[in-house]
Symmetry: C2
Amino acid sequence: MSDRFWSLSTRVETCTRRLCTRAYFGSMEFSKNPAQARVLGGQMLSPLIQKIETRFHLSDYDRKALHQLSARLVRVMAHRDLIEEGKASDHITFIRSGFACRYRILPDGGRAIIAYLVPGDTCDLYAPLLGRMDHAVATVTRCDVAVVSRQDLGMLTSDHPAIAGALHITDLVDEAISREWLVSMGRRSAEKQIAHLLCELLARLQVVGLATSDSYEFPITQADLADAAGLSVVHTNRVLQTLRAEGLIVLRNKTLFVPDLNRLHTFSDFDTRYLHLPQNLYSAERRRIISGVARLQ
Amino acid sequence: MSDRFWSLSTRVETCTRRLCTRAYFGSMEFSKNPAQARVLGGQMLSPLIQKIETRFHLSDYDRKALHQLSARLVRVMAHRDLIEEGKASDHITFIRSGFACRYRILPDGGRAIIAYLVPGDTCDLYAPLLGRMDHAVATVTRCDVAVVSRQDLGMLTSDHPAIAGALHITDLVDEAISREWLVSMGRRSAEKQIAHLLCELLARLQVVGLATSDSYEFPITQADLADAAGLSVVHTNRVLQTLRAEGLIVLRNKTLFVPDLNRLHTFSDFDTRYLHLPQNLYSAERRRIISGVARLQ
DNA sequence: CGGTGCGTTGACTTCGATCAAGAGATGTGG
DNA sequence: CCACATCTCTTGATCGAAGTCAACGCACCG
């Protein structure tokens, strides 16, 4: 409810929780005034640009085009649907700040969180290729999301194949993350699974400058962690306590510190490779190689 | 060891199992004679073409190009690596017959199967975009795989955007399958999870004509099922027995029958939607719509 | 005929779910 | 600014699902 935001129409306010007893709150969004939206474009997609440029070389021409893409900023409360299951929208939603998640609700009322989305991630990039969304996307914390029209983005990607390629790579990495989650759920103990997830979030947040080398803001609820790990809330709580007791993590004031990253990595069998980050984030040569391969496609 | 195959060089023979005590067997493959390979091209990629055409309209021009793509057929024994973790190959491998899987080996020796591949699936389509493989691919049963040079496929897809789009959609469906597996592992009981997997395989095999409306050949080992479900072999065995006792499945002569598909679907909470098959596989209109959207990208 | 892979069974243990209740936070309305 | 409701985290007790260990039968195969 910062003074920079003011109330407007509400597109994104459906409640997520199964037994939601929350009152209705309208979402907040920027004015739809195109001029203003355009001015803010660069800022709005900056986590995305940052993420892309970690792995991929963008020319000034490409970067400028991304900056100039007109987008609408929407502020959404925690635990609200961004995209409902079964919908097909003509807009694409980017997370600008906050955490979101992909999830499914099961007939017995259970909820499975399939992925976490952090700033720079897209909610529904390729959704229309498949027709309808086979899962929903919701905020986990309060989020600012940037909404871009599919048409605008389509024009951008056909003018800028490098951007199209970068977005594709981004999607392939999300796929790798899903696979790693499957490994975690299938064959790692609850402790290792949660620890692994915390390592992953650290690495992903570092890419967009939202984590230091050993800490990040961690506003995720234990219930939301539980649904992502496939555990009960009670057990998730105990797992976190164990990790804290072992000195593997320190959780204070909704901030996660990792006293000894190597120890946490070893404990949780975390290996950054699946995130496909360049060894040295600033290796220009490496970026050139990657973008060369991408263009071959 | 059919008379149609004869032994040649061995590219793909590394052993998968953690405690593999198998003797070494060379893989079998077709002659590399280009003329012969070309003649067989159409047959070799036919499950892929079949899969693509389920969701996507290909022009005669596109289909012909796929048929004419030169490929090398390789016969591989059960439980052999097709692609090793960490490798980056200049070839693309398609499953032509048999089952394969994506997997990871964990430090404690455990194996996690992340996906099953059935005829028509690709093993490593976008692998080079990410640099190295972050997981391995192995056969589950004996497989015939078609190996295509990346360069040939690159030329094909740049000449035929519809094929590129179709392959992309194929990949998005694989992603949806991963998500569904995550839901299964996280929030479904072992019985439902296995039942769900059996439903999924039925649907996927039907697409490539390898399943009837209620049955398919099921040569997957309980150990391989266990690694896919994240269960122990013993428990997998008991789960299968329960499903059989409930009359939900009949497993005889390595063939799976589903006496009452609706019952199995309801029991396992299976909903075909995530596979994004058209309601009516033969609806030309639906295919046109899909391919229209794809071309927009 | 003995090895080996695969399925099966039983006994026991452990991990994680469930149920129940309480303690701080946090936030909202009066 | 207080009072109340609601989250959120926490703890204890008990139950059930799944893992582990060990052994056996059967089919296949060299």
